[in-house]
Symmetry: C2
Subunit: 317 residues, 2 copies
């Protein structure tokens, strides 16, 4: 094992970069812009350049560097290849091998949600756990599966894509993916707002803290979660419905992998303990008996989870 | 790697035993009775004795034997410990370490459904695959998850217990496990018969091949599957309902692990291609786009899957 490694998290507007010691200490972190023009052709060369600049600045020796891990917003297979990454304007790209050629370092690539899960399993909410499920609640619903301390990529790079598990066979509204009844349609920020609007429309006489933002056209998930914490009855009904769907879905996922911990992350998770309590209540109801005690915990690394997990990928056990 | 290994599959009435070469050839197979009296105290000593007898009979050298793997009808954790195995009259038992002490060989233990999955991934329907989901349709619904060519036991020994994934939140009839709405309540032989009876009761005037066995009190899953193959309209409706629930559930499991193949085994799978086609049709409808092409195949090793998988457990990569 070397002394250092790099963890890179590529987003649609910025690339987060971290230099770590291989025991998991973040030495330095910085950002560079993501240049998506010309089919994102500069993205990997820019990353290679900023890594080399950091190596030169600190006078590091390449022999002491285990490698560079990189998280990508799109599917990534076990070889570190990306079939397509819309937000980066990429078609097929052999990310790991290209980045290795550009840097002269070992390189490994993973899907950004999977990489964040690995970060949380390494130094975050589930530090030290070998098998975890991470559930990322944001604009959509993503996830990551860690087995034996390593990312499970899946045969088509789709392991952990739990937002597209079907939870309602008779849904008529389509999901962005083309299917109908995906978990994401109810448990994402977008889905929660849709359910809140439906509840408001269904009970036009009922007072609710959500009326004002709804009428103003500004209703967002934060309003719902704030009203839930304020014990607004309509908000409680909506969140209990979300908790029932989400807790039940996670209970089903536990029947597949029986993880040590379930980590809840993403923007919606800023709602904190009340959200986790609501999910946990329904998880316990639906989970198979041996898995009922599995802890459901809030993610701890926030936006840094990606650079931690990316760095962890390239460290040998 | 040695030349030989033993694979043992413990059932409630008989113990299946196999001697394999480490390249996967079944050299000999035989059975001994399962003696469950006295809290099943004789089961492991009996197994150790029959293994030693086979070693003596064939004049094998212990140095040439990789070890003995054993499948148990109950939950098994990564250490090879069983908290309880009702059918064997066992409470807690450290199966792997006890069997190792009794035989003087390396021993590893796994849940029988998980071990069968490993057998199918080694030499059966998914030979050579590293990541598979096996779905076992029998009196109940079981399953096994293979990741990286190894059994995923799960934190509480409950990985692959997909029969207890909740697929109907508002079910009022309880499952044997105490929850309500488990997959097993619809997709097991027992569950299919229940759905068929409900359909017969709901359409008392409708002719069906299932009327005669229903009135005779002998209706079983085989009647339903035979009538389905005969294109009996009522049987088709029931099996399409089962396929919708089961195909949808498997599609959700694929969102977690994105396997290379899904293997359908257990007694119900004797219905063959029409059953697989029915499951596949709904799997393709509900699966997330990248995982839609995943092949769904029939198990091939039948009752021998357990000894194959048990043997594979103890072979080093």
């Amino acid at each position: 094992m070397g002394l250092y490694c790099f963890g890179i998290d590529v987003g649609g507007t910025t690339v987060k970069c971290g230099l770590f010691t291989t025991d998991g200490t973040l030495v330095e972190h910085w950002e560079i812009p993501t240049r998506v023009e010309s089919d994102g052709a500069s993205i990997l060369p820019d990353i290679a350049q900023t890594i080399q600049a950091k190596i030169d600045e600190l006078g590091l020796e390449k022999d002491n560097i285990d490698g560079v891990g990189i998280g990508i917003p799109g599917p990534v297979n076990e070889k570190g290849e990306v079939p397509v990454a819309v937000n980066l304007h990429w078609g097929f790209k052999a990310v790991a091998s290209e980045l290795s050629a550009l840097t002269g370092l070992k390189a490994m690539a993973g899907n950004d949600a999977n990489v964040a899960a690995l970060g949380e399993a390494w130094k975050g909410a589930a530090a030290g756990a070998k098998n975890i499920l991470m559930v990322t609640l944001g604009t959509g619903v993503g996830g990551g599966v860690i087995i034996g301390g390593r990312i499970l990529h899946g045969t088509h790079g789709a392991a952990g894509e739990i937002g597209h598990a079907n939870v309602k066979h008779d849904e008529t509204i389509p999901c962005n993916c083309g299917n109908h009844g995906c978990l994401e349609q109810y448990a994402s920020a977008t889905g929660m707002v849709r359910l809140a609007k439906e509840a408001l429309d269904a009970a036009p006489e009922e007072e609710s803290l959500l009326r004002v933002p709804y009428k103003a056209g500004t209703l967002e998930a934060k309003d719902l979660l704030d009203a839930y914490k304020e014990e607004d009855p309509l908000a409680i009904r909506v969140m209990e419905h979300v908790g029932d769907i989400l807790g039940g879905a996670i209970a089903s996922f536990s029947c597949v992998m029986d993880p040590e911990a379930i980590v809840i992350g993403g923007g919606v998770s800023k709602a904190g303990k009340p959200l986790v309590d609501c999910i946990t209540k329904y998880y316990r109801q639906y989970a198979f008996s041996p898995s009922k005690p599995t802890p459901i915990v809030l993610a701890e690394l926030g936006n840094s989870a990606g650079i931690y997990g990316a760095a962890r990928m390239v460290i040998s056990d």
